[in-house]
Symmetry: C2
Subunit: 341 residues, 2 copies
DNA sequence: TTGTATGCGTTATCAA
DNA sequence: TTGATAACGCATACAA
């Protein structure tokens, strides 16, 4: 069925070894032999078998990217960049979607695909420390965003607390006094939410503002709808907030939507700040102030770190220390929370 | 390094063949042998090699999904669903991103990965008829959205013209008389744009309205920014439109944004309708009327059709006729173009 | 029911 | 420079 190097060799009157050399541009092959091989390849329509190459070399040329939901813009942007960077480095990307399901996360980390891929970039919603510690599969994993906080695995992210502080501080400096936070999660071990909440708290404390627990809203998931629901509950308060910091842009956009529905003006009645730097926030009405992480850098560093691990494993060199890289972020001020003037 | 079935066999005191049988739950294996094998697998931490299995069986268990940009919401939603459906069918998904680049599209179709994957689901922006006709790789391809119009390959999509007609007709029925179209493309062979433009035209003609070429705006790409730019040019007209039908939701959302920036009220001054049924349009201000295709069905049919082809190829049965499936769509009326009352 | 032997298409070792 | 030849890990035809 498929044309093999053997077939090409016969046709070109050389050994299969020579064909392999030509294909991989490896050893020095005589000009005449090379030419005959190339011609034979063309005539026969030979196409290399990745399966065989992978088996032989032990390298599949595939990285695994694991995200909760591909259509959540933050993950979509991440996927875009990871796929691009991986391609630049000669790798294809196998995408797994966990839907926040723990079994799927486990399978992505432990299943056969985890071995087939040379490494995995994991962006999890659930705490994954336990999944990583007793891992059977030996292929390297780099964690994005959520950190285990245990320093047991390479991690790329941003300083969530500092960023949340910057966002909240901006609201306070622009004159807001009752600043709400949308985005705590029932599962307290969700570090992302915990860290951002901490930054929010720090900013309030530093400004000498009191912490009103009714202004801290828990959500079930991180979709627009959850932000809208949370906003409703805030607007229903006897003394509603004059500002909202949402843990993600999607929550903020949901909040924006609900405020408009209820006739509450943004930013006049309530200012809103999000987190993620989504493209969508540049076009919302009003445009959304946000914390914009350098996502390109997150993707680049993730892939690079992973490839470093893979290479180190091959050369069985000394294990590099666990990376814990914080990528820079910007506070981008837009219409939803203008600076006072 | 890696534990093989051979190792397990030695440990369990059986032949490698028996281990293989146990792993695949295939033939009837004696209870005691099975137990010993399972125990040995546990002790040694045996993990099957997908590379070897793939080489031997000729089936990689991988499908390839090719899209222009993973972070364009329409493709992100598509990817989400395709990955989910594929997983249900026991397949992993290798994602390729073409960025609209023809060379990347070609590589996705012709490169080694095209052979490694058992089949490809392609959502292209460029016309791909030529890429598909003289194809070297023999793995099946299913086309999504854009059709070659030649009936030479399985295609899943919606009736673009009928949908565009419905959208435009809705605007006309709600009393609009100067309806603009955003989304023609310099590359006239981009069928999606052509078909939607045709539906727009048909609706105007049927309503006895004149076609004003100045109301048909060409764009460079399909991002929010392009929609905003197009909207600007429309609003700059001496006699601007009272309604806009955009070929995609992203364009419509950009248009919405620009209208708001310019102080033009939607829907009072100008109504806006999009196309794609994005989640984002449920939360925009105002919410966006749109053509909502059954994306879940698109994904499901794509994967099913592809798997059918793969199976047919294996059993070398009679080739099924080329599928050209149109998935249903809904016109979802929201705030950007309310029905008159 | 289980074992033996072979080959999937490559790469790579060893000679020549 | 090139040719035999041996793995890579697994699935399966054929035997037992």
């Amino acid at each position: 069925m498929a044309v093999t190097q053997q077939d090409v060799a016969r046709r070109a009157g050389v050994s299969q070894r020579t064909v392999s050399n030509v294909v991989n541009g490896l050893a020095t092959v005589g000009d005449d032999a090379r030419e005959r091989v190339i011609e034979a390849i063309r005539q026969l329509g030979y196409r290399p078998s990745l399966a065989a190459r992978g088996l032989r070399s032990g390298r599949s040329g595939v990285l695994q990217l694991v995200v909760p939901e591909l259509d959540v813009p933050y993950f979509a942007e991440l996927a875009r960049r990871v796929v691009s960077v991986a391609e630049d480095r000669g790798y294809a990307v196998l995408v797994r979607q966990t839907l926040g399901d723990r079994d799927r996360e486990r399978d992505a980390l432990e299943g056969a695909a985890a071995d087939y891929a040379e490494g995995t970039i994991l962006s999890a919603v659930n705490p994954v420390a336990d999944l990583l510690t007793g891992r059977e599969s030996s292929s390297p994993v780099v964690l994005i965003g959520e950190s285990t906080g245990l320093g047991l695995i390479d991690h790329i992210g941003i300083d969530d607390t500092a960023a949340a502080f910057a966002a909240t501080d901006h609201l306070i400096r622009s004159g807001r006094r009752r600043v709400a936070f949308i985005g705590t999660h029932p599962d307290a071990s969700l570090r992302m939410a915990t860290l951002r909440l901490a930054g929010y708290r720090d900013a309030l404390v530093e400004a000498g503002l009191s912490l009103d627990p009714r202004l801290i809203v828990q959500i079930g998931s991180y979709h627009r709808e959850d932000g809208a629901t949370a906003m409703s509950s805030l607007l229903d308060l006897a003394d509603p907030p004059d500002a909202v910091f949402a843990a993600t842009d999607l929550l903020a956009l949901g909040a924006l939507h609900r405020a408009h529905e209820r006739g509450v003006r943004v930013p006049q009645d309530v200012a809103v700040v999000g987190f993620d730097g989504l493209e969508e926030g540049r076009y919302s009405v009003p445009t959304l102030t946000t914390i914009e992480p350098d996502t390109g850098e997150v993707a680049r560093l993730s892939v690079e770190t992973l490839l470093d691990r893979i290479r180190a494993r091959e050369s069985s060199g000394p294990a590099a220390p666990v990376a814990d890289l914080a990528v820079p972020f910007d506070l981008v001020i837009r219409g939803s929370s203008p600076d006072p003037d």
